[in-house]
């Protein structure tokens, strides 16, 4: 019997970039998993957690916990949300031992999409083909360069992979950061956009939907033809 995987598509993918979620489901099915989507899911609580709103973060975190408590694997298309769920979820319940224990158990079953493919499914090639010049943008909460997604991209047929110049750096999204420092956010995004344009790639691939939307908006505003894609969209392409 095929193993069961629960999608946590995140509120941003659900509302703003659903094709990334569909692509993720397709890749996981191709890797041999039974894919389910639980309708009660909404958000992981990250915006409130990062903003310092403990009680709101705890409430939304509990909702996630209740929705996925019996899931075998929860696969997430965003590094930011995956980090929240696999690292910070138990911290939301400092005074509630039973919720904290449940959160600790569930947090070990939450996987960021590319890590799930490489470490659980143990596949690095799914017959994808993508005949374009592609670069990878190291996304949210993962400043050290990510090896996994590069491995996956380089196995894609006909894909012309090009590395960005310079060390990985933040795109300027950062949740509610824009509220506090709009000018700095813009300057950061412009800087990263210049790196992307300099690579002459036609597609920039990432693993966090916040970063991808931030870059997409800047690229569109600058009338640049470079497309932003979630890694799953490249891997789903045949």
């Amino acid at each position: 019997m095929a193993k069961r995987v629960s999608l946590f598509v995140t509120c941003m993918v659900d509302q703003l970039l659903p094709k990334a979620g569909l692509a993720m489901a397709e890749v996981l099915e191709r890797a041999g998993f039974d894919v389910e989507f639980r309708e009660a899911q909404t958000c992981c609580g990250l915006p409130a957690y990062q903003a310092g709103c403990s009680s709101q973060a705890r409430a939304v975190g509990s909702h996630f916990l209740n929705t996925f408590v019996d899931a075998d694997y929860v696969v997430v298309p965003s590094t930011g949300c995956a980090g929240m769920l696999s690292r910070d979820l138990p911290h939301l319940f400092p005074d509630d031992p039973s919720a904290r224990t449940a959160a600790q158990t569930l947090s070990t079953r939450v996987w960021e999409f590319s890590r799930f493919l490489l470490e659980v499914a143990k596949v690095d090639s799914l017959g994808a083909r993508f005949p374009h010049r592609v670069t990878y943008f190291d996304t949210c909460c993962s400043v050290p360069a990510q090896a996994g997604p590069r491995t996956l991209l380089q196995k894609v047929k006909d894909l012309d992979y090009v590395e960005l110049d310079g060390p990985p750096e933040c795109c300027g999204f950062g949740g509610l950061f824009r509220w506090h420092a709009p000018q700095e956010a813009d300057a950061m995004t412009q800087k990263q956009m210049s790196r992307i344009l300099a690579s002459k790639a036609s597609h920039v691939v990432g693993l966090d939907v916040g970063c991808l939307l931030q870059l997409r908006e800047a690229l569109e505003r600058g009338k640049h033809a470079v497309q932003t894609l979630h890694l799953a969209e490249v891997l789903a392409n045949q």
Partner: protein, 357 residues
């Protein structure tokens, strides 16, 4: 002939692990190391003063100056401190608290060189320096500088007063091999290990040595598990160098915990939490986690419409059907001019149902 530096062959990640472990061990046993430091400094002919606040340290120095009839001070950062309590206060605060230690040299006035001429220093009765490290087993302070002004200020005047936060203690002299390597990308130009006043057989050095160990809110940080790691900081500035935003602002927001009134500033919100600072930290302080912890501090919590917006957001996220309904409304009535975060034509859950799941 080829010579290879032993230091350059040491793996930095090993050094970082080691440095973090040493710092954690000191902080967990700080009471012991404070006593040990005092014992060893005294054994080397020096004197240790414990100051609860910066003002206590200032008062002590002014009293000492009065007793010894001293009129001129020099500091490692500023030279004109005589009879100016506020200047002295600023100097102590900077030396003991913020990024003043190793970075002090870079913050000096361009014409500082003239001020540090030997005649000026000899005329000063008290030379005040910080300390990059306080070495417990040697009863010594270590100064690491790119120039040698701190060394001059420590050696020429009759009295050398070193001001160091209590977290600057490291257990052994040999630990310097770990920390000096991590303090900067290149090894500091001048490293001085100073213990006690001039001995009878020595040609120069101060006649009196006083080490002021400054609490300045540090014991309160030590007692707070969420912030404790901050005291591992060796003031290298690597987090500032790597921050993509406004580094002085946010990391300054953290170092402000070390100066009165010991609260972080609202700037803790002005970070994307990208993690660059934490990655860069040579003593492995989880800076993004501390920034988040500080945001949960009531005094720094979001207020006004932003707080209400997040309350509303949570209300919606707990109600999947309301969440979906509002998504539909947003799609239907999204103003054409708002391009940024325009919702997709259909949500994931609509598309998923459409596939007959």
């Amino acid at each position: 002939m080829t010579t290879t530096s032993t230091l350059s062959t040491v793996d930095t990640s090993t050094l970082r692990e080691r440095a973090a472990a040493i710092k954690k061990q000191v902080l967990a046993n700080l009471d012991h190391y404070l006593v040990e430091t005092e014992k060893q400094v005294t054994a080397h002919g020096g004197h240790v003063v414990f100051a609860q606040t910066v003002d206590d340290a200032v008062d002590y120095i002014l009293l000492l100056a009065k007793e010894r009839g001293v009129e001129h001070f020099v500091g490692a950062r500023a030279t004109n401190l005589a009879n100016d309590k506020q200047a002295l206060r600023n100097e102590i605060e900077a030396l003991g608290s913020d990024l003043g230690s190793y970075l002090a040299g870079r913050a000096r006035q361009p014409d500082a060189s003239a001020s540090y001429q030997l005649e000026r220093l000899l005329a000063a009765g008290i030379g005040i320096t910080g300390a990059n490290f306080v070495v417990a087993d040697a009863g010594a302070i270590c100064l690491a500088e790119d120039d040698d002004f701190g060394r001059r200020a420590s050696a020429a005047p009759k009295i050398h007063v070193a001001v160091a936060g209590i977290e600057k203690i490291i257990p052994r002299t040999r630990d310097l091999a770990v920390f000096l390597r991590l303090l900067s990308a290149r090894f500091p130009g001048h490293v001085s290990l100073l213990s006690g006043p001039r001995r009878t057989d020595e040609l120069d050095g101060p006649e009196e040595f006083v080490l002021i160990l400054l609490d300045g809110g540090r014991s309160a940080i030590l007692a707070d598990a969420a912030k404790r790691e901050l005291l591992q900081c060796i003031r290298c500035g690597a987090c500032l160098a790597r921050c993509p935003v406004t580094p002085v602002g946010q990391m300054g927001a953290l170092t402000r915990l070390l100066t009165p009134p010991h609260t972080a500033s609202p700037l803790v919100h002005a970070s994307t939490l990208c993690g660059a600072c934490g990655e860069a930290c040579p003593v492995k302080i989880d800076l993004p986690r501390i920034l988040v912890a500080l945001r949960h501090d009531d005094r720094l919590a979001l207020g006004g419409w932003r707080a209400w917006l997040l309350r509303g957001w949570a209300f919606v996220m707990l109600r999947p059907r309301l969440y979906e309904f509002l998504g539909l409304m947003a799609r239907a009535f999204w103003p054409a001019a708002w391009k940024g975060a325009k919702p997709a034509a259909k949500s994931f859950r609509q598309l998923w149902r459409g596939k007959g799941r």
